[in-house]
Each structure stands twice: as C-alpha cells, then as structure tokens.
C-alpha cells in the first residue's frame, strides 16, 4: 500500500510575545488502521474564466462514507490580495475564504459535496483528494 505523509509547519516570529514554530506530520492511513490511503485524484489546476457559484470540486457520490479517512487539499493560486475563494460544504455550509496563496487540508467524510464560489474572473485554484477505495 502507498505511504503518503502530510507535514504542517506553522511559523511566526511575532504573532505572540515569543517566536513560535510548530511542525506536525501525519501519515495518511485508512480509517482505523495502519494501511495507507490508496487513491489520489492528482492535483487539479483550474483557471475559472468566469466567477463561480457553488461549483463542485469534490463530489460526495464518488467517495465511500461512514468509516473513512479521506483528505481534501485546496489552494487559491491566484495572485494579488483580493480574489478569494469561498469554500463550502453542500447546503451552503461555509468553511471559509481562501485568499490568494492560502491553502487548506481537511478530513472529508464523503457525505457532502465540497463547493467553491469565486468573486472574480480568472481566479485560479488547485485541489486534490486523497481517499480510501472502500470504507473501513
């Protein structure tokens, strides 16, 4: 089985009164086991010619539900500072806004679509899903 790791590093010299650095590494496994996730969509890159409203980037019907350990990565690859991507779960459940350069990495239960809304033309995005082929 595949071995995939995801490492997160948060660093700031001045957001608190002292320098702060944190690094965490997760080995991405199927739910409840030590077997690695076995599916990956690849990283999709898109440039939206027009502003988007509730555009599905992760369709829940593709993924197994219940005991699963899928992960979703999304990044706003636009430049500048203003053109955000609003990320939601199906039903307009707002997760938050990714401003240019921001990324997110979340667990995904596979029960709701992941959707994006953009406010400008030419917004660029990349996203990918790491998933398990069958629920554990």
């Amino acid at each position: 089985m595949a071995t995939t790791t995801a490492t997160f590093t948060l660093n700031s010299s001045d957001v608190t009164g002292h320098p702060f650095t944190m690094t965490q590494t997760a080995t991405l496994t199927k739910a409840g086991g030590s077997t690695g996730l076995d599916e990956f969509t690849g990283i999709t890159s898109r440039t939206y010619a027009a502003a988007q409203t509730d555009t599905v980037i992760v369709a829940d019907s593709i993924y197994s539900v219940a005991a699963s350990s899928h992960k979703v990565y999304v990044r706003n690859t636009s430049t500048g500072t203003s053109d955000y991507i609003l990320v939601e779960l199906e039903g307009n459940v707002i997760i938050g806004r990714l401003y240019p350069g921001d990324w997110m990495f979340i667990p995904y239960g596979g029960t709701l679509d992941v959707q994006v809304t953009t406010i400008a033309t030419g917004v660029t995005i990349e996203y990918g899903v790491f998933s398990q082929s069958a629920a554990s």
Binding site: F8, F20, L98, F105, G109
Partner: protein
C-alpha cells in the same frame, strides 16, 4: 504586524506512478490585504476524560465574521489507530470529516459557524488553535 507562515508538504513515493512532492507556503494575512493576522489563541491541548459529543472548540461568537481570513488548526494527538475525532460545523453539526490518530487539519474559517468535535473514546488528546484577525477587513 505579525508575519506568520503556514506550510504544507505532501509527499508519497507510491500513491501514483510518479513520486509526489508538493510544498506550498502561505503567508497568513487579513482578508484582502497584505497585513498579517494579528491574533493567535496559542495551541490548546486537552485530554478528554470522557468521549465528547458536539464539544465546541471554536465559538463563532468570539470572532469577527464574513470578510475575514481566520484559520483553524486541529490535531488528533491520540495514539494507536482507532480513536477518531469528528470535526463538525454549525448548530446542525454538519460533518466535515474524521481525524484519526496523528491526523491534523488546517482550514479557513469565516467566523459564522461554531467548530465542534466528537471524540470516539475516553482519554483522547486533541490540540487546536485559531489564528485570526481582530477586525473584519
């Protein structure tokens, strides 16, 4: 203003036919600006004596909302392989997903919904933090 960066590195030698090495760094700024986020909760570590249901870890009432660029970090610091943390959004506890031991997540937060967790067992350790902006842009 503070300068805070968040870096993700995903690597795999074998999840596809070619090695995957992805590294991206974001400088965390207030919405629509290049001014850094100015608030940080610190990293909270909690060991829950009992299994939790819809325990609020990020209360929306604490944060400015909508035109914001807050970020939330959560990690399941439990050991083993089976004890999971369920991450949920809002009063209806909409499922985001499960964090198994060692898993972490980092996502934008617009301050309109609570972030809640369930834990599947007693004695689980969870850590979490919020980076936020003091005033909406």
């Amino acid at each position: 203003m503070a300068t805070t960066t968040a870096t993700i590195s995903i690597s795999s030698a074998d999840i596809t036919g070619d090695p995957l090495n992805l590294t991206k760094t974001a400088t965390l700024t207030k919405a629509g600006t290049d001014t850094g986020l100015d608030q940080f909760t610190g990293v909270t570590t909690v060991v829950y004596a009992a299994a939790q249901t819809a325990t609020n870890i990020v209360p929306n009432g604490t944060y400015t909302d909508t035109t914001v660029s807050h970020k939330v970090y959560i990690k399941n610091s439990a050991t083993g392989t089976s004890d999971f943390v369920t991450v949920e959004l809002g009063g209806s506890n909409t499922l985001m997903g499960r964090l198994y031991p060692g898993d972490w997540c980092f996502f934008p937060y617009d301050g309109t919904l609570d972030v809640d967790i369930d834990t599947s067992a007693a004695g689980m350790k969870v850590e979490y933090a919020v980076l936020s902006q003091s005033v909406a842009s």
